[in-house]
Symmetry: C2
């Protein structure tokens, strides 16, 4: 078989630091498990590249990316150098453009962010049942509130009107929702009948998909989502169904997150819910994520920790590499290296349980994890 090809994009801030740790782990696993893995570094999505070329990536960035099976991204966003006592801050819309460019340009329409509280991770909720949280948030990644069609009329005048259009297609909705049910069934196979979720329509079920909308205030796409959800649900009689308005869902993520299994949400709602899910996992230092096209391997998938570039702590060795290493495990799984992925996840969990993460530097955490790998 051909070696799997990975593009590493460290990006900015702590992205660079945690990428170094991912490379150490990948080297160790390649050697240990004899993985056929090749990687290159694509250093362009950084302020440096922008300053030299006036844009974040080369014109053929997407074409270059398509030469790989997976893209592993550190983090994007850089406040830039100090100029005249002010930071030359790249507008967010510029420095983050590569992320949205890849998600849309490679048609990576599903973003998956699991939430589980590993033993030893910070627990933010008072209720000990927070330790039982085991959910998967699946976020629409290609349309909806993120199409960025809109603008500013009479800009700067008292009469200014700014608009932003949200666009949802049935095709985009259906593939997203069906994927959520497929994942729920996979999880059902793993968990068996051990779990139980309330379902008004079907009684309790051992697996569930919860649909998120704001259909009481935004009926147009809320109704589209609701109808498609009902249609697809009929294909999965073994999976329980429920619906939450996004505001109520956010509340329940704090009040009773153990009542969720698979959660499926639009681009913006998913953005918010996955950040809350990260808190349930113990914070951004422990939250992995992937952007995939579940229907096709033609395009590379994009793997990135949920955290950002954290300019406030960048360069100080304070970043927690665990999110990046759990993300690396997701990538290895996607590439077909399941046992290595599982070994890496176990090593992260074992290290978290046996060490005091607070006091260690980024590379020391990786030392601990690598020790657990062997």
């Amino acid at each position: 078989a051909k070696a799997a090809r990975i593009a590493l994009m460290p990006g900015d801030g702590i992205g660079v630091e945690v990428m170094d740790q991912a490379v150490r782990v990948l080297e160790r696993l390649r050697e240990r498990d004899g993985l056929r893995l090749h990687w290159d570094v694509l250093a362009w999505p950084s302020t440096a590249w922008h300053q030299e070329h006036g844009q974040m990536m080369p014109d053929d960035a997407l074409t270059q990316a398509c030469d790989y099976d997976a893209l592993l991204l550190g983090a994007l966003g850089d406040p830039g150098p100090l100029v005249d006592h002010k930071r030359y801050r790249l507008p967010d819309g510029v420095s983050l453009a590569p992320l949205l460019t890849f998600r849309k340009g490679l048609d990576l329409w599903a973003c998956e962010r699991p939430a589980r509280l590993l033993p030893g991770a910070p627990r933010y909720l008072a209720d000990p049942r927070a330790e039982q949280v085991d959910m998967l948030v699946i976020r629409e990644n290609s349309e909806g509130e993120y199409v960025n069609q809109g603008g500013r009329l009479q800009q700067g005048t008292p009469h200014e009107v700014a608009t932003q259009l949200e666009i949802f297609t049935r095709r985009g909705t259906e593939r997203l929702i069906r994927h959520a049910f497929v994942r729920a069934r996979e999880r059902l196979q793993i968990h068996g009948s051990a779990r139980s979720f309330f379902c008004a329509e079907k009684g309790t079920a051992a697996a569930q998909v919860c649909l998120i909308t704001k259909r009481n205030a935004q009926p147009a796409w809320g109704e589209l989502y609701t109808e498609v959800f009902a249609e697809v649900a009929r294909e999965f009689p073994d999976i329980g169904v429920t619906h939450q308005l996004v505001d109520a869902a956010c509340m329940k993520f704090v009040q009773c997150p153990w009542e969720f299994d698979v959660v499926v949400a639009s681009n913006l709602h998913g953005d918010i819910l996955t950040d809350l899910a990260a808190v349930l996992s113990g914070g951004l230092g422990l939250a992995p994520s992937c952007n995939i096209n579940p229907d096709s391997r033609e395009m590379p998938a994009l793997f990135e920790p949920t955290h950002g570039s954290a300019p406030d702590i960048a360069g100080q060795g304070k970043a927690n590499p665990a999110a990046m290493l759990l993300t690396t495990a997701m990538m290895l799984e996607w590439l077909g290296f399941g046992p290595s992925a599982e070994r890496l996840r176990q090593a992260v969990a074992q290290d978290l349980l046996t060490s005091n993460t607070q006091a260690r530097r980024c590379s020391e955490v990786t030392d601990g994890i690598i020790a657990q790998l062997d």
Copy 2:
């Protein structure tokens, strides 16, 4: 002086139950403090009215409402009666229409929801600093993501496209943001220099306004908000400023909510953040809210607990009336009955501290609160 005129709209489900409690308390306070208060009941926003008339409210609902100084609403939304073993459920968009009709039709452009954890209230966060939370979330209430302009093209076909337009005006943005700073200054006068909030621009400050946007993904109105915020902030040199993306803000509401003072957000972001703020207050049973036009008393203001009609527990005496009574206190304050409002707030707090709320019925909680009033 003329008596203040209130319209009571019990609505549906537990709305009716908690309204009964509000009336008991209003009667007691009117007698005790000699308040010049008059009220009528407008029973229309309910399923019953809908079934008889095919709509939720009479055509002249807004005109009728304008005859009052304040509207006190229980809760809206009713799953309807059982027909053929199925509930005849009014679409959310219908049963909730009165709420959005009043907010928009009466130009009640600011929704205020304070978050404080009263001693004795359920604490959902593990960190004891959650007891220090004292924030005010101010939500845009008249435009933005809630304009409901949009629809469904090729509905029901594989080619369907649903759209929803977001519209933000500079006028709507400026009045909202200025109001947030005014409130922050009022709070500064109450708290003095006891509190301290980090502000990158101004060092630490004793009061702060945090602006919420998603400007990295929705730049058009994100930039409008950012620019107006910077302009208005210059008028308030004593108030610290900060900005959070909505996803990060939701996370921080769980990780470090004590770092917030006044939070100002768009309609949808505010909807989500106020539900999280309700959790910080101990849940929906304790979360009051008002919809006001801070510039004008010409239109009545609308007061409603943050909770909904909770059809699952309706009619069982299980609802907590505290949210409704704290809402009643907000209304009394707005009507100029400050001392009675404060007395009511103290009574709710005192009752919560001295009793076991879990075990008591709705009317028993009110008994306890009324006992504290005397």
